[in-house]
């Protein structure tokens, strides 16, 4: 019996000997952006309208008649009945994967979806109908690293945990490479302000100064990273490719004004003569520091905000934070009148020298821009405590997009902006 005890202990001890040795592992946990894949067939089938849902990640805005169209980045477009700006009411949500830009003409919504341009009948926002799909109309926004998985329609944040042995070195807490997203920069980080397209109807149809889609006459103008692309929308339901004009790298926005197109790029502002809407002709380029730069125009002057990127994404390297006032009396030779320091200017809008500048997390500023050389001395109002990305001005109604949601102000009084409503963004 005694010997049995010892034998038992001996066996146990020998087993334990085999499991001697410290173990060590590092669990590296980080949040990163991972691609969302979809097949081309899925992409086409996914376009549909569903009941209204909450705003979560607002993008570009377009107003048409009584409706407000708000892009939900890479997801689709909210349709909001804004006939009473005091009580805007969500009507429906149009699911469009990989959508960033939009424009509306009559009852037709033009929207991008990955590389496709869609024409959608929105006469009944709850029951939309795809009228036309032009494939490969727009360059892909994301680097398609693994085509076998489908196409990348979005990136979503995920928490990743990697297990690394303690003996192995771990380099970097990294993110996958994401193609520089010019399309998104325009609004997600940028700004919008009012431009009035020469609509075919008498209804108001406005997009933002940072929009990459613009309507003028019978043409839909789109800009991508390097080119201006025209689509003939004389028959709104059946857009056709019309022209492709190479401009240069870093194109961000398009802003039609009277017979000209003002195209913002990271390095400057290109001015096109658009007397013949089917053949815009480059007149001049106003160069500035490499920065993110929305542009608006009123009369003979262009207002350009240049900013650094405060998000840490380094999208606007070597940028400065200024408001440039540029004379375009001679469209072939734009000249700087004065540059005003700002905190982090994003979108802007101007209406009869009533100038509004979104200052990102520093709020919204309102200037009297009657005296172009003394704008800084005529700060009328500075609203703080919220994020201000972009604005659209329409008949004394200011629609501002911020991280918190969509603010609407009445700016008929020069003394004070009157808040009409706030549609709050709901976090995912």
């Amino acid at each position: 019996m005694k010997n049995l005890n010892f034998c038992f202990l001996l066996i146990i001890s020998l087993l334990l000997l085999d499991s001697c040795g410290d173990k060590c592992q590092n669990l590296i946990t980080y949040k990163t952006q991972v691609p969302v894949y979809m097949s081309k067939e899925q992409l086409a089938k996914s376009v549909s309208s569903i009941p209204a849902k909450a705003l979560t990640n607002t993008g570009k805005i377009w107003i048409y008649d009584k409706y407000l169209f708000v892009n939900e980045l890479n997801k689709g477009i909210h349709v909001i009945d804004n006939s009473n700006p005091n009580f805007p009411k969500s009507v429906s949500f149009i699911q469009i994967p990989a959508n960033v830009d939009l424009a509306v003409k009559g009852n037709v919504l033009y929207a991008d979806s990955h590389t496709n341009l869609l024409a959608i009948d929105i006469s009944n926002p709850l029951q939309i109908k795809i009228l036309e799909t032009i494939e490969n109309a727009i360059p892909p926004r994301y680097f398609q690293s693994d085509p076998s998985k489908g196409i990348i329609v979005d990136y979503e944040e995920k928490e990743i945990t990697e297990v690394v042995d303690c003996n192995q070195s771990y380099i970097g807490i990294g993110r996958p490479a994401i193609m520089e997203d010019f399309a998104v920069r325009g609004n997600a980080l940028g700004a919008q302000s009012n431009f009035a397209g020469k609509s075919a109807t008498s209804n108001v149809s406005k997009g933002g100064s940072m929009a990459r889609f613009a309507l003028y006459d019978n043409y839909l103008y789109t800009v991508n990273q390097s080119a201006l692309k025209l689509f003939d929308v004389k028959n709104p339901a059946k857009p056709t490719s019309a022209a492709n004009i190479e401009i240069g790298w870093g194109i961000e926005t398009i802003f039609p004004y009277k017979n000209n197109l003002f195209i913002g790029s990271m390095t400057g502002m290109h001015i096109f003569d658009n007397t013949n809407p089917s053949k815009p002709v480059l007149l001049s380029t106003y160069n500035h520091f490499t920065a993110c730069d929305p542009v608006v125009v009123e009369g003979d002057y262009a207002f350009v905000t240049l900013r650094t990127d405060e998000t840490g994404a380094n999208r606007c390297p070597r940028g400065v934070n200024v408001l440039d006032v540029v004379s375009i009396i001679n469209l072939r030779n734009p000249t700087l009148i004065k540059s005003y320091p700002m905190k982090n200017p994003h979108g802007l809008g101007i209406d009869n020298a009533d100038l509004f500048v979104c200052e990102g997390k520093h709020g919204l500023k309102r200037f009297d821009a009657t005296k172009l050389e003394a704008i800084d001395k005529n700060l009328l109002e500075h609203l703080e405590g919220f994020d201000a990305y972009d604005v659209i001005l329409n008949d004394k109604l200011l629609i501002m997009v911020g991280k918190d949601g969509i603010y609407q102000f009445d700016y008929s009084s020069k003394k004070e902006l009157k808040l009409l409503s706030l549609m709050k963004v709901v976090q995912d």
Binding site: L9, L10, S13, L16, G21, D22, K23, C24, L27, C166
Partner: protein
Amino acid sequence: MKNIIILALFNLLAFNQLLAQETKNLQKQKGFLSMNEIGVMVSNESALYGSPNAQAISFHSFNAYQAAPAFAIGLGVGMDSYPDRVLMPLTIGFSGDFLKKNITPFYRFLIGHGSVLTKKPTDNSGFPTQDIKLGGGLVVNPSIGLKVYIAEGKAFTLQLGYKFQEAFTEQSFRGGSLNRQEVTFRRLMFAIGFSF
């Protein structure tokens, strides 16, 4: 290493033969039992420290109620000093002598939780660290040994055991990244001590 252990265990068998020659039994029969020892813990290899610089020193005290020479139940507390951290295991366990002799093999089994007393700063990541959290974990410590009674209820002990002990370090970085280092010490323990 294995040969040494096998030899030690066979020596225990030899002591077993000597027990028959003992006369007066000095074993504690009942009551408070305190076993205190100092030991060294070694491992074949260490993913954390490399080898051979992986020894750790252990101090331990097991205080129990002895119901019979073959069974005592109680609590243990100790201090295990590894190269970069000191852990304090708090355990519950039982122990007992195998034989009713003055020289007798004994067993002990402890299980509990270890916590960190100190850890030397070893962050060489180069990243700005926001917060470092240290912690312990499960401790399992079975052992056998030899008791040599020298007086009524008092004995020297020689002990061979195995210690399984978990510990972790968590470093959080700006931007929400987290590095959790999980260490499982799996050590052979040699200890000498005194029980009363």
